[in-house]
């Protein structure tokens, strides 16, 4: 029986963790299997949850979030017969599968859409906790914006420096309003549960927003321009499907293997033009083929298109 | 005016937990009279009056006002029945104005401003009528206690009280303020109001009351017409036996100077000067008594000498100066110099009520090497042994070192404090109100112990508001008024009248430290704010 551990944002953050949950749900529906799950409510539970699941024979144990990294690094050797999968972090242990995403590629594409859609020439980015991973989103986004619209300005804000930043919709909303007042007419939220507040504020103020991780277009139809899909669901689904034979090692999910992408559905078809889509697809092709490189912030902790 | 009593209480009982404060008390007070109530501390006087005022609820009993049975569940009902009360401890809001205090609870209508302006008019009328002048816009914290008491009386009158209860109103007043108060009370009585006056001072009872009731141990022991009784008789009723007022003692044989105080000055937290240059000395083998109305600096003097108030000036013990401001100005350093101190308030300072007797015997002397097992730990067994010995010698009952201090009666609590301090055989013993709230038997014992210490050649500085106690115990008497020494007398060569005048700040030029350079006329000083 596989197990899934959600990070602090909680299963229903409408974003990252929820995507993981959807993947597990899909696996359960397709195979009729069951899985154990737990939502962490405190830091100290991480290790305990891992150990308890491993001890109880759950296999594989899937966890979402980089914060599990150091804990898993320690726990994994204690349970050599259990397979672990961690998302968003690389843990170098023989029984661990590490899944990371090329968020900068997906962010580049939504950035392009923002650059094409903006009327004010200013677009915003609201990150959750200020960590390299989120800067990677921001950097990809900014590159995309500039690629589509060289004159555009990107304003970037982070919600905070602690995990609380993933779950602070009030602050997200206020940051959005601040960016709107600075001229932004599109904001991209890469902030977990905080993003709920961002999207809400954008809808309230009548501007566009861009969702993240899950398809968030349905949250405010006509206001959410698109969502940067990060197929955590796929990663979880695959891990669970492989079961005890989970293939360990390093696993990158990018545009090429449909790990990231943009969300198009009936909720946003009216606001996304054909021309816009054509340009985005063209760029995606180029990225996949290697013709175009999107700079990854985490490769050298710097960003050519944005200053933090 | 009907001939029904203005107040009649029948069978009032009240217990506070295990303490039976009032037991089956009945009393009748006729309208248009002043009725006195006397009794020892803790006799239950305040409790009885608080029940009448609806502040406490009686466990049983009935109240009749003007012949009608009245239930008084709360003070509102008492006010409605025409009762007003001035409490022993005033019930005023310190940072409200006089006006606000008077209106509080008697406002008219929900909006404040109209009732305030209406009250202001009424207040000036009342003030004129009864000579109760107060500034309605002054804050309570800015006026003296005498003034505060007027506000309390005005509060009652504003509520149209026909029956006025005053609980120990003169304890905080100077004699002249007290005289003024009694003039007012007589005026009220002449208007037909009924007044109940609680006091400890037999003289006041004899002067102003028409009838007087005596309480003892929660019971009403007698009610008599004032004209038909005498102070001695009342005292006997109060304590339940003949009172021996004189202390048996040989004349003093003073030795060398032990304590020398020069020009001591103290300011309180509010910056008011409470000691204004006090100088005195005490020799070994004598008891020097300090007389004065409470709040004239005696407490501060003891506190400075005892080491818990900082001061300016010079103090020497056996010729050695002691630190009045620095690190060595604390109680521990004083004790090291051989100063022991029986504080005025045993509940507040002298004892830790929640500590057991043995812990209290070590109190203040907890650093004594005899009480230590080693460098780190105290030797509790030694302390308990020592306590048992001391309790036996001082006849503390019950002689149980493990009993919590609050479970001893007042007299025995005081004996514990005295045992602790006197058994140290100090060079100088400071004693404040040694027999306050202590029954007569214990008083005798305590006085004997003090005299015995004196006879061992030690110096004793005694502060007491009981003039009788000072006169019978002290060899020399110093009178304090408003932070200054008014005069000094040899005990056998003075009388209450002379001391009373000094206590009121009236001094003859010859001997007063104040009078130097003055014209030689009689002077009347201003009282300081009471404590």
């Amino acid at each position: 029986e596989p197990a899934l551990i959600f990070d602090l944002g909680g299963k229903f953050d409408k974003s990252f963790n929820e995507a993981a949950f959807n993947g597990a749900q899909r696996w359960a529906e397709e195979t009729g299997g069951t899985f154990r799950e737990i939502e962490l409510t405190s830091e100290a539970q991480r290790e305990q949850a891992l150990r308890r699941f491993a001890e109880a024979g759950a296999n594989p144990v899937v966890m979402t979030g980089f914060a599990f990294g150091s804990v898993l690094d320690e726990v994994a050797p204690d349970y050599p017969d259990t397979k672990f999968a961690i998302i968003d972090m690389v843990v170098d242990q023989p029984n661990v599968r590490s899944v990371v995403f090329n968020e900068h590629e997906g962010s580049f594409l939504v950035g392009m859409m923002a650059g094409l859609k903006t009327e004010s020439g200013t677009v915003g980015f609201i990150g959750g906790m200020d960590i390299p991973l989120i800067r990677k989103f921001a950097c990809g986004y900014a590159q995309g914006v500039v690629a589509a619209n060289p004159d555009a300005t990107v304003i970037a804000n982070m919600t905070g420096t602690t995990p609380a930043a993933w779950n602070d919709p009030v602050k997200g909303g206020e940051l959005t309003k601040a960016q709107i007042s600075q001229g932004a007419d599109i904001v991209y939220a890469a902030a977990g549960g905080t993003g709920v507040g961002v999207l809400q504020a954008a809808a309230d103020e009548g501007i566009f927003s861009i969702g993240v991780d899950s398809n968030q277009n349905y949250l405010h139809p006509g206001s959410v321009l698109t969502s940067m899909l990060k197929r955590v669901d796929v990663a979880v689904y695959e891990a669970m499907s492989q079961g005890t034979d989970l293939e360990t090692g390093f696993n990158v999910m990018g545009l090429a293997n449909y790990g990231v992408g943009v969300a198009l559905d009936e909720n946003n078809e009216a606001i996304v033009s054909y021309d816009m889509l054509a340009q985005v697809y063209a760029a995606a092709d180029k990225i996949v083929s290697g013709e175009m490189m999107v700079h990854d912030y985490m490769s050298d902790d710097s960003c050519p298109a944005l200053e933090f | 005016m009907s001939d029904a009593p203005a107040i009649e209480l029948k069978g009032i009982s009240k217990a506070f937990g295990p303490v039976q404060a009032n037991k089956d008390i009945s009393i009748r007070v006729m309208p248009g009279t002043i009725h006195g109530i006397i009794g020892e501390n803790g006799a239950g006087k305040s409790t009885l009056m608080s029940i009448l005022y609806g502040f406490y609820k009686a466990d049983s009993g009935q109240v009749f006002i003007n012949g009608k049975e009245t239930t008084i569940p709360d003070s509102q009902a008492a006010i409605a029945a025409g009762i007003g009360m001035v409490f022993q401890h005033f019930k005023l809001v310190e940072n409200f104005t006089v006006l606000e205090n008077v209106v509080l609870g008697a406002e008219e209508g929900g909006r404040l401003m109209p009732s305030l302006s209406k009250a202001r008019k009424l207040l000036t009328e009342l003030a004129d009528e009864y000579e109760l002048n107060v500034d309605p816009d002054k804050k309570i914290e800015d006026i003296g206690v005498g003034m505060q008491q007027r506000v309390e009386i005005l509060k009652a009158l504003y509520r149209k009280a026909e029956i006025l209860i005053l609980d120990e109103p003169t304890g905080v007043l100077t004699p002249s303020e007290a005289d003024h108060l009694f003039r007012i009370l007589k005026g009220l009585k002449d208007e037909g109001k009924t007044i109940i006056l609680i006091t400890h001072k037999l003289r006041e009872i004899m002067d102003v009351t028409d009838t007087v009731s005596v309480m003892r141990r929660g019971e009403m022991t007698a009610t008599v017409k004032t004209k038909e009784t005498s102070p001695e008789h009342l005292a006997e009723l109060m304590v339940g036996r003949k009172v021996l007022l004189r202390v048996d003692k040989k004349p003093a044989t003073p030795y060398a100077k032990v304590l020398e105080v020069k020009n001591l000055r103290v300011k309180d937290d509010a910056g008011v000067e409470r000691l204004k240059g006090v100088s005195l000395d005490v020799h070994g083998g004598e008891i020097v008594g300090i007389a004065g109305v409470a709040g004239n600096g005696q407490s501060e003097l003891l506190e400075v000498l005892g080491g818990y108030r900082k001061a300016k000036g010079n103090v020497m013990i056996n010729g050695e100066p002691i630190d009045l401001t620095g690190r060595k100005s604390d109680g521990q350093s004083r004790r090291a110099k051989g100063i022991a101190h029986v504080p005025e308030d045993r509940h507040r300072e002298g004892l830790i009520l929640d500590f057991q007797a043995w812990e209290n015997i070590a109190f203040g002397y907890h650093n004594d090497p005899a009480y230590q097992k080693n460098r780190w730990l105290m030797d509790n067994r030694a302390i308990r042994q020592d306590t048992a010995d001391k309790m036996k010698r001082f006849d503390v009952r019950p002689p149980n070192p493990h009993l919590t201090a609050k479970n001893f009666s007042g007299g025995n609590q005081q004996k514990i404090v005295l045992a602790r301090e006197i058994e140290r055989n100090p060079e100088l013993l400071l004693v404040g109100q040694p027999t306050r709230g202590v029954d007569i038997g214990a008083i005798e014992f305590i006085h004997q112990q003090l005299v015995a210490l004196r006879d061992r050649g030690k110096a004793i500085l005694l502060v007491s508001v009981e003039l009788d106690e000072i006169m019978s115990l002290a060899d020399r008497i110093i009178v304090m008024f408003d932070g200054q020494i008014m005069g000094e007398r040899i005990a056998g060569q003075t009388d209450e009248r002379e001391l009373g005048l000094l206590m009121a700040g009236v001094t003859d030029t010859g001997r007063s430290p104040l009078a130097q350079g003055s014209t030689g006329a009689m002077r009347v000083g201003n009282p300081g704010r009471g404590a």
Partner: protein, 325 residues
């Protein structure tokens, strides 16, 4: 910082200040009556949850507001029982109430909505499920009518009804405290309850009244958080605002108008923490956000220490009124 940026930060500051203000005035009523209340946080949190939950269930934010007030009142009554009727330690009671709210809101939220301790977004329940912002008349036209017009359009207009109610509460509180019989008695009971008692007024009644008012105002604070500022409840959403309100109360020396300024100041600090860019442009140095976060508390400690004007609490504050030992 240009004027517009300033206005926009102020606008955020107003929204942040309002929950503080409600809670601060709540504490003011309670503490002026002699009941210390460190449970403002908990009451706010409980109110936030119940207002959002009931608004979600009924689709009507006004019913939600009532529910929030009810929840906050329930905790107030517990506090009253502990500190008035049973003469317990008010601080301990406050601590307990904070925990109670933190635990119960999540527990109930999980039971009702199964969303990990949050309510669903209120925007899913129709337009009446939350307090929407109100555009004051002519706000749009005033936008270009000089700086005053800008202030009107950007700062004054465009808040939800509770914001305006919050500001109205300040003069109202002042009036009640200093111009009514009730206020006189309330202040007296916080200074010397024995004086009130002997004047024939019920101390217990007054203190319960104060605690109840505190409950109502905390309820509005919480409801504003969850249904005005946000569209739903998330776990721990009061995130220390109750304590900042407490700090503001001390900062304001227990006075209503000062409370307004203190809350606006603290709201402004919070708003500045959101705009490190503007702050940096203003002061030319990079102030760590954490310092801005901590500033309200630091300022309060400074005030408490009496270095800048002494804050003297109501004299009978924190002490149960004991007539019979």
């Amino acid at each position: 910082m240009d004027f517009l940026t300033f206005l926009q930060i102020s606008d955020t500051a107003v929204r942040f200040a309002i929950p503080l203000l409600f809670a601060c005035l709540a504490g003011l009523f309670s503490e002026r009556a002699g009941i210390f209340d460190i449970g403002l946080e908990g009451k706010m949190l409980a109110a936030a949850f119940f207002s959002a939950a009931i608004a979600a269930l009924t689709g009507n934010v006004w019913i939600g507001l009532l529910a929030g007030i009810g929840a906050s009142m329930a905790l107030s009554i517990i506090h009253g029982l502990a500190s008035i009727t049973f003469r317990g330690n008010q601080l301990i009671s406050g601590v307990a109430i904070n925990f109670l709210a933190a635990g119960l809101t999540v527990l109930i939220a999980q039971d009702w909505f199964r969303q990990g301790g949050r309510t669903p977004s209120l925007s899913d329940f129709g337009p009446n499920a939350r307090f929407n912002s109100i555009t004051l008349p002519y706000a749009d036209q005033m936008q270009d009518a000089g700086p005053l017009g800008l202030v009107y359009a950007e700062l004054i207009s465009g808040h939800s009804i509770l914001v305006y109610v919050g500001f109205l509460m300040v003069p109202l509180t002042w009036y009640i405290l200093f111009r009514t019989r009730f206020g006189l008695r309330l202040r007296a009971v916080g200074e010397n309850p024995a004086a009130v008692d002997t004047a024939g007024v019920s101390v217990v009644g007054l203190r319960y009244a104060a605690v109840a008012i505190c409950g109502i105002l905390c309820g509005m604070a919480g409801a504003y958080l969850a249904t005005g500022l946000q569209a739903g409840f998330v776990k721990d959403m009061s995130s220390g605002r109750g304590f900042i309100a407490l700090a503001a109360l001390i900062f304001a020396k227990w006075r209503p108008w000062y409370a307004l300024w203190a809350c606006l100041l603290f709201g402004f600090l919070q708003a500045m923490a959101l705009r490190p860019d503007a702050v940096e442009r203003l002061v030319q140095i990079d102030i760590p956000g954490q310092l801005l976060d901590a500033l309200p508390y630091i300022l309060t400690v400074v005030i408490l220490a009496g270095f800048v004007g002494k804050a003297i609490p109501p004299r009978a504050g924190g002490e149960p009124y004991v007539k019979e030992r």
